[in-house]
Amino acid sequence: MKETTIIQLLHLTAPGVALILMVGSHAALCRFCPSGRIIRLLLFSAILGGLGLVVMELVSLSAGETWGNNILSLILIDGPVYVCLAFGYANFVNLGQASVRIRIYRELLASPQGIPLVELRGRYDEIGMLITRLQRMKEAGDLVFDGSVYRLRKRRLLIVASILYWIKKILLGRGSEFYQ
């Protein structure tokens, strides 16, 4: 096999190898550290996957790739592809945690005879959702409560919310599903 073909194959497989490392290490971490915070475990496994990507790039260097081409390919192709795959996996994991639709599906799966709408509304009422979220954001330091009012403390969620708001405005022409 020609040297350039081997190098191209190494670049093609590098993000996949990194993703396998990330998924595998995440599964192992979840089993061995079940009390760990989901976001931390995901971040740690994403870093391990990233190290795998760097190792693959070093392998392609040893196969005859130049430093310049290797860095260019890491920045323009292999790195962004791995980031997209890792982002997709992280969101896939988060779906099982946060998606109301998947939680409703699980509840219905456990009750094949169906669930009364009133009962479902009771389990997912907006006030219950509000209390859970306020508590979670207080614990994470995103909000502060002085006994009477809530104020924003960290801006990280606001940045995500603002980006999504503008994407919605550009794509859908409205900033929220509840505005027409």
Binding site: G114, L117, M137, S148, R151
Partner: protein, 171 residues
Amino acid sequence: MSIFIASSFLLVVLWVVHWVWWRIALPRRQRPVLLMIFLSGGILLAPVASSLVQHLGFGGPTLIQWLNVGLVVVAVTLAYVVAYSAVEADSPTLSLVRHIASSGAVGLREEELCEFMAKRPFLGARLAALLDEEMIREQGEKITLANHTYVLFRLVIWHRVKVLRIDSQGG
């Protein structure tokens, strides 16, 4: 460089197609249409991308480089489709954060937040989406599962319970 140029060209053109389509008429099933635009559109536009790369003075991509272009398009598409669920449906947490931030240093009382949430029927919207996608059905006063394959939902739950060994549901 030819991989970067070909994949960037494909992604930009396909995103513009998606944007124009969405502004003209929002599809009923948005995510399957998105996948269709990016994946089949990528294949259809591949010859144009190839001529662009050659026109710019780079050699035509080899088979392995085409596979790499395909990987870039698929990876970006999957990440975009996954992220799109946050565009399609509002997140209760992020909606709250924006609302609290809009009050500035004054802050908001719990009653004001309750009022804000009451105006946003998140459960009703999710149920309506599930009904619209024919994943659940209303039988009198009850909600039951419809005959649907639920591939993504099953995969998410299987991965959570069997692979990650997390049995609890999120909050």
